[in-house]
Point group: C2
Chain length 463, copies 2
């Protein structure tokens, strides 16, 4: 018998627009993976049909529970398999003709060695014969603010979910995806789609990039990569995606212990880093260096667009942090270009004499909200600079909580990318929110702000 969906499953877009989701292994027991997934689905507000499946229950969380996948009326677009690894092959066989895609969240497959590898191969072959696409195994699946799908099996009291935004994240590592989402939620950055594909026995980064290339919800893509198996497919998909929107990637498992660790994590053969670097370059992918740059990139492209170039204007009210920003820019190849004569003269005529007019422009402890805004507008008009970094220390007594709104981009003020650096303790940290509310990404150290500037500037090379 020909599977119902075999002919139409070349793409994976149905994973991001499902009308129905089955949860295989559903249970009432709180804390169990399948229970958390069901709760996540309900809390996320998934609008389609949800089918709990488990022969041991007649109802779960107030929903009718089906004894088997075959009992699903008509079909389910996706089934989430939250059952032990050895039970997956049979369950998949029984799902033939009933589902288009499977998300297999559990571990115990290729990442565990030879026996697990054989089991995963069996699962892959069954799915291929049945025309079922697979995300996983050993993964978190999908968190999607557009379709309101959430298969992540970490309760929300531990891991917050971000709001709606234009950033999509794809990740081989589930813990990385989870942690990044949690950081972004806490930092007020929204997301579109997050895909954790684990051992990627079928759906991989190339499939995801191919889908995201045309996805109107997605304005930028950040990828966490331990390994790529098919370099040609990856470069094709990434090139197509990066032609439409910024694509960034961190490749981990660079050397020594990191490579070994990646293997025992998702069974990945990490390979030589230089090869990845070359592939990223060829595909127009912005290469990110580690977790901190990944976060900075998410914040930067989650709130700002590409910069036109790498010329940075620094405006500060603390000399020390201005020097620190300059050093960090220099280290990452950004150009802290001197103020042009004419601009310098204009600023000198409009600002108090005790300000240090230059780049950095140091407004000193006498800084006011207005002097920050004036300096920003004057220096960013014309074609002298591509990115502004504003370093606001909160010691100067004249600074108020109106500052963030006065620095936000608007027509006639400036529309170029602006990044905020406001290091310090409680008072500074509490002000982060005010900047985010007006769409300005905010960083706690000079280096973090400069990482973000660097990512925006690196996006320029292709843009």
């Amino acid at each position: 018998m020909k599977p119902v969906y075999q002919m139409e499953n070349s793409g994976i877009s149905f994973f991001f627009n499902p009308e129905s989701v089955a949860v295989v292994g559903a249970t009432e027991e709180p804390g169990k993976i399948s229970n958390i997934i069901l709760r996540s689905l309900l809390r996320a507000g998934f609008k389609g049909k949800v089918y709990p499946v488990n022969p041991r229950y007649s109802s779960v969380l107030g929903m009718e529970c089906l004894p088997s996948i075959e009992a699903i009326p008509e079909k389910a677009d996706i089934a989430v398999f939250a059952i032990p690894a050895p039970a997956v092959p049979n369950a998949l066989k029984n799902a033939e003709g009933k589902i288009r895609g499977a998300i297999i969240v559990g571990g115990g497959f290729a990442e565990t060695g030879e026996a697990g590898n054989a089991l995963e191969k069996e699962v892959r072959e069954i799915a291929a014969r049945a025309g079922i696409r697979i995300i996983g195994p050993n993964c978190m699946g999908i968190f999607d603010t557009a379709s309101k799908l959430d298969t992540f099996f970490i309760p929300e009291d531990r891991i917050q979910r971000p709001g709606k935004g234009g950033l999509s994240i794809i990740s081989q590592s589930g813990s990385f995806a989870v942690t990044a989402m949690d950081e972004l939620a806490a930092d007020g950055i929204g997301v579109a789609r997050v895909v954790s594909y684990g051992n990627k026995t079928d759906v991989d980064e190339a499939d995801c990039l191919d889908f995201l290339a045309d996805d109107s919800e997605t304005k930028a893509v950040a990828a966490y990569i331990e390994s790529v198996d098919d370099g040609r497919r990856f470069i094709e998909a990434a090139s197509r995606c990066s032609a439409n929107k910024p694509v960034m990637a961190v490749k981990v498992g660079k050397a020594g212990a990191g490579i070994t660790a990646a293997r025992s994590h998702t069974g990945a053969i990490a390979g030589r880093y230089e090869i990845y670097r070359a592939a990223f370059k060829k595909a127009g992918v912005i290469e990110l260096d580690g977790y901190e740059e990944f976060l900075a990139a998410c914040k930067a492209f989650g709130m700002q667009g590409r910069a036109k170039g790498n010329r940075v204007m620094i405006i500060t009210d603390g000399g020390g942090v201005g020097v620190g920003l300059s050093d960090a820019c220099h280290a990452l190849g950004l150009d802290v270009a001197p103020l042009p004569e004419e601009l310098s003269a204009k600023l000198k005529s409009e600002l108090p004499p005790y300000f240090a007019i230059g780049n950095p422009l140091d407004l000193t402890g006498s800084a006011t909200d207005e002097s920050f805004a004036l300096s920003l507008q004057k220096t960013m008009s014309g074609d002298h600079y591509d990115i502004a970094i504003i370093a606001a220390l909160w010691g100067p007594p004249a600074l108020t909580d109106n500052l963030p709104a006065m620095l936000a981009q608007k027509p006639g003020f400036t529309e170029k990318p602006i990044l905020i650096c406001t290091p310090g303790g409680e008072y500074s940290r509490q002000r982060f929110k005010l900047f985010r509310e007006v769409g300005l990404p905010v960083f706690g150290t000079p280096e973090a702000a400069v990482r973000a500037a660097s990512v925006l500037a690196r996006g320029a090379r292709r843009g």
Copy 2:
């Protein structure tokens, strides 16, 4: 007439143990620098005598206000000059024989150009003739948890003061000192002495290091340096200090715009970075790279001691963060040495089969408080590793708030340095406090934890 103190002012220890402090320019006006300084002194609980000085008031903040420095009965150890730059020379002349040291907080001196430079020279000459040591001008002065002196003119609602601890900070930049203090306060790291010496017309980093070398309150020193004028004196003092306790320094104004920015900030000629690097090496000073490494160093040496070497053991419950830590260790030259056979066998016999036994040691989503503690103790006993990094993601449902206490150093468990990495959003960030309370420094990114490990290991080379 011979100044009272001329013969005994070769050292600067009296700045850190004063019996009396005058505030010249004291005022009732809230928000004014001298008013903030007076309030800071009172709030800090300074136990000695405080003399407000200002001919325009008879009392300030409920204290008798003296018309001039000459009116001080007997003497004051320190006078804080919070008056405009042009008024400083005369005020200093009148202070001859009345004070041992002056803290000149205001700007308008060498950092502003030629006229300011001349004014500063005049001040320096007057002080030298009068036997008065000077901290500043263009500085914050001293924050001292031992003597309870606080001359920092930023109100505490904006900048928190750290508690008592063993870390001392010396800084050319006032804003840097202030921001670092605020960060440390928010991060629960205590300090002993903080000195901001600005233009260092007299007291400089060498004087401070010379004092801190023998200071029993100070267990470690972190320095922020824009320039050193007398390399030989610096190397002598730093060598003496680093023979007794860890000394770390960040040198900013490394290149290009950073050098220019440093000049307009404290009048510093930043000089070639290679020269500083060589001087640090010769003096046994741990070189720090920028603000983030400075913070990591303060956290590390604020809570932990030197490591014996650079062999790092990584224990994690998230594979991705384990890989990230390995990569970051590799980038900073730390050795993530493989588990010795015997240790590996022992761990395999005591831990569940689904843990990935290696370095990193991945406890996976099944991690428990006990499995973390057991892994830490087993791997850190013997002489296989010098530093442990624990990466705790809070997704695993069995992890509880007991974890921090179970990981703290104690005899019979482990006494080697332990660093915590717990990236993520609100839930993780709220757990930082629990780790700090048991003396474990905690970091939000793999790179930050590894920076700290690197600093502790670099401390080993001399220790």
